[in-house]
């Protein structure tokens, strides 16, 4: 059961207002892979991530996480496996104090008190946020909010991590420590971002999404050096490669 596979098969998704956000997404991510999801604004990256744990269910096609197909019935089970970190930490941190927020997931998993405290301690320790534990989220800075949002998901010890623009709003140093931290997470992970340098740094594989379908899928080193492909998708070469 340790095979943390993510598989999308011909996934279509249409929003209630008629917008077709995903049109036949197809890919498979194997155990332990780190995959970057890139694409223009509005290409469907966020919608795709929301399919990872059943916040949205495909209009047609199947999503399989591990060995479970995603359905209305299995999504509780799948939510234990997949931790999603949303783009805006204010949406992610809804409890009145940092401690309560990080403890929210573990408590919902039904763990006992000692175990919850232990997990909160460990998760906050990983993001260097132990001294924030009694603060209310609205007294935190943007970078601190992001760290706590990550801790709140890590505390559930998910098999798969999905992040939506993790480095947006972070100052360069916080971004560096985020990158360092993400490299230590060895399970499967998916990162949707416009920060191509970050993807180049963390992910060995990269999927380009355009207009709701997969435009390219391959090693990051190949895709992120393909100037024409990137520019067709409103992207550009990672800054670290531009000077060459």
């Amino acid at each position: 059961m340790s095979h943390h596979i993510i598989e999308f098969k011909d996934v279509f998704f249409r929003y209630p207002d008629g917008t077709e956000a995903l049109r036949g997404i197809h890919f498979r991510i194997n155990h332990g892979e780190s995959v970057g999801i890139v694409g223009a604004n509005g290409s469907g990256k966020s919608t795709l991530l929301q399919h990872m744990n059943g916040c949205l269910l495909p209009t047609s096609g199947t999503v399989t996480i591990g060995d479970l197909p995603l359905t209305r019935k299995t999504r509780q089970e799948i939510r234990r496996k997949v931790g999603i970190i949303f783009q805006n930490p204010d949406d992610q941190l809804f409890m009145p104090t940092v401690f309560d927020d990080v403890a929210f997931g573990p408590l919902n998993l039904g763990l006992d008190e000692a175990c919850v405290r232990e997990r909160v301690h460990r998760a906050l320790g990983m993001v260097h946020g132990l001294d924030l534990r009694d603060k209310p989220p609205h007294h935190l800075s943007g970078g601190q909010k992001s760290s706590v949002a990550i801790a709140s998901v890590i505390a559930m010890e998910p098999d798969i991590l999905a992040l939506d623009e993790p480095a947006a709003n972070l100052d360069p140093k916080s971004r560096r420590s985020l990158i360092a931290f993400l490299k230590t997470f060895t399970h499967s992970k998916m990162i949707a971002s416009h920060d191509l340098d970050l993807i180049l740094d963390i992910c060995e594989r990269c999927i380009v999404i355009g207009d709701g379908s997969v435009v390219a899928d391959g090693p990051s080193a190949e895709i992120l050096t393909n100037r024409t492909l990137l520019e067709e998708n409103n992207l550009e070469l990672p800054l670290s490669l531009q000077r060459c």
Partner: protein
């Protein structure tokens, strides 16, 4: 007061509750119960009562001193909401004209007493409620209410309100700033623009609520907000509550002010 100033003022009330004094350390449940008892006692006085209410000011004054809460801050807040109380009572002196006393040749109507009584009760109750919030963290109050038996749905509502009032106000502040930057003089400040602003804020709030709900679901939310907060009522808390009950009972059933008056007269004689 401008919007920004209001915003920072609410933030200040919140920050006060994170101080570190004797009052702040009391168990939230005890403080909630004490405040409720205080409110009911004050309200229970008959409508012409004035003299017996005065000793009750000892409670807010003590809390303010022990909790190191700035007096002006609380007074300003009380003044801010005072128009409600004043409007309710201001016509009493003219409607209830039976003379009950003559002081220095001027007849005092019963209505004046009931007006004064309303004002005193108002000041006492509002300042007690404000002091509860200023000396107890809001999550603490919520948790106390939950442990005292308030349904979890209401408590969750309160918790979310507290968490997101700051986010919402910041959003409103950004929208108003964006409007002010591009409306020169009065043109952009009209009611029509205002209505649209409110509309935008509403739509954004609904969107945000949806995103928050997704975030909650992603972390296994199934209807109840769990909590690990363990607080224990210790001797200090019990002592505080006992003192409070005795204080209230004595002030409610014995005419303290009269007693002090008689005692003073006795000394003078």
């Amino acid at each position: 007061m401008t919007f920004d100033a209001q915003y920072f003022d609410i933030g200040r009330l919140d920050r006060l509750s994170y101080r570190d004094t004797f009052v702040h350390h009391l168990d939230p449940r005890v403080k909630v119960i004490a405040t409720m008892l205080f409110l009911f006692t004050v309200i229970s006085f008959p409508k012409y009562e004035v003299v017996a209410l005065v000793p009750f000011f000892l409670f807010p004054v003590l809390l303010m001193t022990l909790g190191e809460i700035p007096v002006w801050f609380i007074l300003r807040k009380v003044l801010l909401v005072s128009p409600f109380a004043i409007l309710i009572g201001v016509f009493n002196p003219f409607l209830d004209t039976g003379t009950v006393a003559v002081i220095a040749g001027i007849p005092i109507s019963a209505g004046s007493f009931s007006f004064l009584s309303i004002l005193l009760k108002f000041t006492l109750t509002i300042s007690a409620a404000l002091l509860l919030i200023a000396t107890t963290s809001f999550p603490g109050v919520c948790h106390a209410l939950r442990r005292l038996g308030l349904p979890s749905l209401f408590v969750s509502q309160l918790l979310f309100q507290y968490r997101y009032i700051f986010v919402l106000m910041e959003e409103a502040m950004r929208i108003t700033r964006a409007r002010d930057m591009r409306s020169f003089g009065t043109r952009g400040a009209g009611i029509k623009v205002f209505v649209r602003l409110i509309g935008t804020l509403f739509v954004r709030t609904v969107d945000r609520a949806e995103r928050i709900y997704y975030a909650m679901l992603s972390r296994g939310f199934q209807g109840d907000i769990p909590s690990l907060r363990r607080t224990r009522i210790d001797v200090t808390d019990l002592a505080y509550l006992t003192a409070m009950v005795m204080f209230l009972a004595v002030f409610r059933f014995f005419r303290i002010t009269e007693g002090i008056g008689c005692f003073a007269q006795g000394l003078l004689r």
